[in-house]
Symmetry: C3
Subunit: 205 residues, 3 copies
């Protein structure tokens, strides 16, 4: 039996109070990371969509966005880095974001296809001590949510590593091979704290 | 030799009288189905395109469309269900549509990528006794075709099952593995009735 | 170790004087070809982008373009042939173009997905004796470059054959299998002559 079933989060509608907190396996003091997830959303047109938010008291430490114009981006405490990629839509996309402080190399992968490399925040360190949310972007520490930036759709298989994975490993993840469990977030064993209207269902990968 | 050659239908231009009737292996009284095909079309912009039409005397029993705005949709006797997906184009797309009456679960797959699931027409049954056409949408029983909705491009490998195939089987179909022949339509042995200007050629899969 | 590292050309900005000449293994007197490359560019909107230029004294013998409207095209001494395909972007695309004089069959492949076939310049022969450039389109023999048509982004793995490769071989190339080295251009051993600002870096494939 080659099929795999995993839990999926469904955010059925636009809200300012539905979100899921993900409890990490270790503090997010990071000089490098790989963050992957599978997601589908039919939000489009002039609409920002938050895909992942990690905030400490005063800073958006690591926020991943679908921008107004359809680009993907991420922000490490300040200005972001942007990627011109195919639009997210109803088809599930396997998305990864990688960043390494020593070189500043930032890339995204969609369904295993790697982007060109951008140099971003060389020497920076992501700080520990905050909270990670799916579904909402907190404009203050765990508050001030904006429905017009909320996530609507399905998201699952959110995994994170404190290093940059090889391209080949990311391709294996896309095809469902459980080659390496995340050491910051591991979706199979993750503890989730759900607020508002979010359905947890199980789907074939 | 790993290559496979199959027959392909080429609809070279917009017409209101070119279509292909597909003769099914069994009546289309269906409480579930998987419908797959490979297709390419350069029609775009504000243009509806019929991809598959199954009509009985008074009803469009199962029609698959590329909508004016580029979404894919299908209709089971009434309002349809819509999916925000990448645009069809010159590159051949392996498209599947699945539906199951017991849960109402409706999904599309493009090149093996699965969409989010929508709940549609739970409890409905598709009726037997009609005709299946490629190329035109009949607005009455086998008549009243509209050139502005006709299919222009290539289509092949149209197969249909009376059940929802596992995701993994659909991925195998995309890569050309003949894992399971369609039991409603089987492109390898199908009987086609061609009207108007439709070329039948043979291409490597 | 399944990873492969190859040299990549980075054109960091719009110029009218940065280009790379590729020295062929044999004269480009061709009655058929397969031309493949991997590329990423964030140029978009109303912008032509030259992807490959082969010019003899008076003719653009084989030019590959991203057109103003996003279509891909190629030109053999005169009017071109056009393909409605997904937009190039920040994700690396494996692009192949094939043409065969005897049938006139012209196709493109993006990441192994084949386009519909167009009939183009049946009986034509590409002439030997010119120069092949990446980055600029010469409007005269090695001169008159237009910054507004220049390539900006990354390109690598440019290989060319004097025949049409089987679809299956192209799929193998996409996944990085070195199944068959180009006999007109072979990126592993190619001699490059760089002018202007072009960075040569090494990346995992």
């Amino acid at each position: 039996n080659r099929s795999v079933t995993i839990k999926t989060l469904v955010f059925p509608s636009e809200t300012s109070d539905s979100y899921v907190e993900m409890v990490p396996l270790k503090p997010l003091q990071l000089k490098a990371f790989t963050l992957c997830m599978r997601l589908a959303t039919e939000l489009k047109g002039e609409r920002e969509v938050i895909l992942f938010a990690y905030r400490t008291g005063d800073y958006d430490e690591l926020n991943v966005w679908r921008e107004l114009d359809g680009r993907l981006s991420f922000y490490l405490s300040g200005d972001g880095v942007f990627f011109q990629v195919p639009e997210l839509g109803a088809l599930k996309t396997h998305l990864c974001v990688t960043w390494d402080s020593s070189s500043g190399a930032a890339t995204v992968f969609m369904d295993g296809r790697k982007s060109l490399t951008k140099i971003y925040k060389k020497g920076h360190t992501i700080r520990a001590g905050g909270k990670v949310l799916l579904g909402q972007d907190p404009d203050s520490y765990l508050g001030d949510y904006d429905a017009k930036q909320s996530f609507v759709g399905e998201v699952c298989d959110v995994n994170m590593w404190d290093s940059v994975l090889p391209d080949r490993t990311i391709k294996d993840l896309v095809s469902g091979k459980r080659v390496q469990r995340g050491n910051v977030f591991d979706w199979e064993t993750i503890q989730l704290k759900i607020s508002g209207t979010v359905e947890v269902i199980h789907r074939e990968l």
